[in-house]
Amino acid sequence: MNADDVPQEGSATYGGHLKAIYARTHDGRLGLVQTRGWEVEETVTLQAVQAFEELAARALERTHAGQSSPLEVHMYRARMDVAQLAQASGLWSWRVRRHLRPAVFARLSKALRVRYAQALGIDTDQLSVVD
């Protein structure tokens, strides 16, 4: 790839930053060239971001319908799945999965709430709130 062919498409995912990639520069050698983004990269980044957003939206619906607990919404908003939340909180996956049930979640002990809140990076009192 030549420096002139380095895409400068202004990816929204870069948040105004520039990345550096290697390309053949004007002196004929390979070197770092800054890029404002490539549509291809933006497509796959947004795809991954949106996959979690969709999961969170569906979890939110289920929570409002009383079929799931707010924990599931927070989990997807923190871009985690059950396995990752289990690792982050140091609990077994089956316990996390059980805590996704509204009735079980409602009885969750203070200690477990603190643990989840820490793993998700939110305040403990936010844990049972979703909007």
């Binding site: 948040g15 990345k19 800054q34 990752q84």
Partner: protein, 336 residues
């Protein structure tokens, strides 16, 4: 405020960027591609039994810490690495080292770094950056993240959370710094050794998940994707490979361009024009990886019909090209 005089330089990849910066800080000029190539960090790996959010682990480079460890022998120095069980200990030790004027490399999770653009913040635990100072007034750390244009500040609570994230490849607070000064290597020896190792990793691993065999294996996985029954999952899988190739700071084309830059630099250093020619060939292979990414993205966006078998054919062609390429590279390295 304690801050060592440190020159930030943007790089394309985190670990090679951090290690080249640490070596340069010790007074030995070293480019990012040279750090990457000398430590034989290039490869391809498809590990379907490690899953992140339901997607397999795919990488275009060797595992984390390869570059940190791999530079020690050629540059004749040693890196000290420390991990911690308790976050408080990790923070205390980092402060101690910074107060002593040390420049310290850190492994962190990208997700917990507030200065990263939100769309990049996923639970990837093997990101690397450098801490070079600390503001004693508010406890903020002065960080040089090699993939960003400028140095940044980070609140100590945030950095500690990022250093002690749990999960796959958990950093466990890993910090690293040179125990003595790196020395200029005997290039005529160090470069061929590194080349042969990369050729071996690409061609002759006993496991079918690494190198050219890994590319063939992921091509086979593409052929088995449920494009007709579950297009969403198919697109996620395809997009995942492209992300690993282009988004995760690879310098474009899954590190192939960076490795080509290394070959070009090596050619000049040890006066072996054949390596520069190989570099040019690898640039072409990198361009084809970019074309593969483009074809994949068009399918994800429904501009082209979803046809993973076509992408699989492109992957198999890439595997064949890389097989030829690394065989030539191995020969060129042995001629010295």
């Amino acid at each position: 405020m304690t801050a060592t005089h440190f020159v930030h330089q943007q790089a394309s990849h985190c670990e090679s960027g951090v290690m080249s910066a640490i070596v340069r800080h010790c007074g030995l000029p070293l480019s990012e591609p040279m750090a990457f190539g000398l430590s034989s960090a290039l490869t391809f790996a498809f590990l379907p039994f490690f899953k992140l959010s339901g997607l397999p682990l795919v990488s275009y480079r060797m595992p984390p810490r390869t570059i940190i460890r791999g530079l020690q022998k050629p540059l004749r120095f040693s890196m000290r690495t420390e991990t911690f069980r308790r976050p408080e200990d990790g923070a205390r030790r980092l402060n101690e080292l910074l107060d002593a004027g040390q420049v310290v490399g850190l492994q962190v999770s990208v997700f917990w770094l507030p200065f990263m653009p939100p769309d990049f913040r996923f639970h990837f635990n093997a990101h690397n950056l450098i801490a070079y100072g600390r503001d004693k007034a508010d406890g903020d750390y002065l960080l040089s993240d090699p993939v960003l244009e400028e140095p940044v500040r980070c609140a100590s609570a945030d950095l500690t959370k990022a250093r002690f994230a749990r999960g796959l490849l958990a950093p466990k607070g890993l910090l690293y710094y040179p125990a003595n000064a790196p020395q200029e290597p005997a290039w005529e020896r160090a470069i061929p050794v590194a080349l042969k190792k990369t050729a071996r990793n690409m061609l002759h691993t006993p496991l079918p998940f690494i190198g050219v065999k890994g590319i063939v294996r992921i091509a086979r996985a593409f052929e088995r994707l449920p494009a007709a029954t579950d297009p969403q999952a198919t697109k996620l899988f395809i997009g995942h490979l492209v992300r690993m190739q282009e988004e995760i700071g690879t310098g474009g084309g899954g590190f192939r361009f960076m490795y080509a830059a290394f070959l070009e630099e090596a050619a000049t250093l040890i006066d072996r024009p054949a390596l520069a020619e190989l570099g040019a060939q690898l640039v072409e292979i990198g361009d084809l990886w970019r074309e593969f990414a483009l074809a994949a993205a068009r399918m994800i966006r429904d501009r082209d019909p979803l046809d993973p078998a076509h992408l699989a054919a492109l992957l198999r062609a890439q595997a064949a090209r890389e097989k030829t390429f690394f065989t030539s590279l191995n020969k060129a390295a042995r001629l010295s």
